[in-house]
């Protein structure tokens, strides 16, 4: 996954959670950032807008850290590029 993607994800997390960008890294985990379940759904909402993707519930169930989150988004962007636009 690209540095650009990682930077955009870090920025979304810091903006949603209202914490300094420098406190969020690719190696951060959600517990360490004190991201609870409501924070998480807000971040997912912001990521869907940022990348114009739809993130299914079952894709996020086991995501616990920023690296897993970036990898998941990378995959969803790739899936979207390789398939015709789905009806929303």
């Amino acid at each position: 996954m690209s540095d650009d993607l990682i930077q955009r994800v870090l920025k979304v997390i810091s903006t949603s959670k209202r914490i300094p960008l420098e406190t969020v890294t690719i190696d951060s985990d959600f517990a360490q950032l004190k991201i609870d379940s409501m924070d998480a759904v807000e971040i997912l909402f912001a990521l869907e807008n940022e990348f114009d993707i739809s993130i299914p519930d079952d894709a996020v169930r086991n995501v616990r850290n920023v690296r897993q989150m970036c990898a998941g988004i990378d995959q969803l962007i790739a899936d979207k590029a390789s398939s015709p636009p789905a009806a929303q």
């Binding site: 609870d36 379940s37 409501m38 759904v41 997912l44 909402f45 739809s54 299914p56 519930d57 079952d58 996020v60 009806a87 929303q88």
Partner: protein
């Protein structure tokens, strides 16, 4: 202190159009969860809900009256009519003047608002229908019930998300118990199936993609429901004196606030509400024979509620059946507490504990006797009905069977 009898029952929800259809369904463990039909859900991540089957206002209201009522207010009146017909009170001018109406609703007529706002935001029109406000207001159910029966006493609506109806019934119970009202019509109603509201629930990521499996290890969230349930409450002595049928008694009501998080439940808050209901009823935990759980089927609620029940009931838990009828009628938000109080009343009255339907697999974090999938014959004297809301506002009702 005045004892409080439940003399009238009314309901309309996914399980049926009357309280007796509801009773038959919960007592047989039939789940009414299925594809949402009233709204186009092709743009949603979830497709299933618990809607009132084949609903039309036509058998209940003439077209002009229905024009003034959102679906949630129609449900409120339909259930109230049934409850009042069941109780058959002797209406005197004094009774009409002093009777109370207390309803619960979470979203009120937001479906009407949702449609109205599409006109200006989506279709670029310059006006919204003039009945949008009176149809949307959450108190419309109570108002239409008051007009239906010419009841002019204290009437209001409580909105505490998923605890709304339980808070309403509890308040009505206290008003009868204290002598503040001679009769109360109380319960809750909800009709949340419009696209904008469903989209908002989708964003919360708490709605199950298939069905509602409370306390089951493979549960994936809640299923939205709709409908209404209404009760008629009156002093036990007065009800007996006029020979009314008494379905059950309400004997206690407890409330609490979590004061912790806007959506995540707190086991301590839930436990405090159950303890408050027991204290109000002057009951020991060991006297409770059945709990109708809040049991939403979300990961968080069911673990938290289990912990709360363990905290309150200790070793009695192994002898305490706990089921969630949301597995059958869905989560009807502001009507949930009324539908579930009704399920508990039916359990006490008929000696049949409703099951937790759709149950597949025990979860070690939900180690309760959840009455999986099959109703159970058991004559229980006391039951609790739990309601725990987003926002951490909790309400618990304590009920007693009529002695045989």
């Amino acid at each position: 202190m005045v004892r409080v009898a439940i003399t009238g029952l009314g309901a309309i929800c996914a399980l049926g159009h009357t309280a007796s259809e509801f009773a038959a369904a919960v007592s047989s463990g039939r789940s009414a969860i299925g594809p949402i039909r009233s709204t186009d859900v092709s743009g949603l991540r979830f497709q299933n809900g618990a809607e009132v089957p084949d609903y039309s206002h036509t058998p209940y209201f003439d077209d002009r009256r229905a024009d003034f009522m959102d679906r949630f207010a129609q449900f409120a009146v339909i259930a109230a009519r049934e409850a009042v017909a069941d109780a058959a009170p002797e209406w005197t001018p004094e009774l009409r003047e002093n009777a109370a109406i207390i309803t619960g609703s979470c979203v009120g007529g937001q479906s009407t608002e949702d449609i109205g706002f599409q006109e200006v935001y989506k279709h670029g029109r310059n006006r919204v229908h003039p009945l949008t406000i009176p149809k949307t207001m959450a108190n419309a159910g109570a108002s239409h019930i008051s007009m239906e029966f010419g009841v002019t006493g204290p009437s209001f609506t409580i909105s505490t998300a998923c605890s709304s109806a339980a808070h309403a019934i509890g308040q009505a119970y206290w008003m009868i118990r204290s002598g503040a009202a001679p009769l109360a019509i109380t319960g809750g109603s909800e009709a949340p199936f419009s696209f904008g509201i469903l989209k908002a629930w989708e964003a919360m990521r708490v709605v199950s993609p298939d069905t509602c499996r409370p306390f089951s290890k493979d549960r994936h969230g809640m299923i939205l429901g709709e409908g209404a349930a209404m009760l008629v409450l009156e002093p036990l002595d007065a009800a007996r004196a006029r020979g009314a049928r008494i379905h059950a008694e309400i004997v206690g009501f407890g409330m609490s606030a979590d004061a912790s998080h806007i959506t995540q439940p707190s086991a301590e808050g839930a436990a405090r509400a159950m303890r408050a209901a027991l204290r109000d009823a002057a009951l020991r935990p060991e006297q409770i024979g059945y709990i109708n759980a809040h049991g939403t089927g979300t990961l968080a609620n069911d673990i938290s509620e289990t912990a709360a029940i363990h905290a309150v009931f200790g070793s009695h838990v192994k002898n305490l059946p706990v089921s969630s009828t949301k597995s059958m009628h869905g989560h009807a938000l502001g009507a949930a507490g009324a539908l579930e109080c009704l399920a508990a009343i039916v359990a006490l009255r008929d000696g049949i504990l409703p099951p937790t339907a759709n149950f597949n697999e025990p979860d070690p974090e939900c180690d309760l006797d959840v009455v999986p999938n099959h109703a159970r014959a058991a004559q229980v004297e006391y039951a609790l009905s739990n309601s725990f809301a987003f926002g951490g506002l909790n309400a618990v009702l304590a009920l007693r069977a009529v002695a045989h």
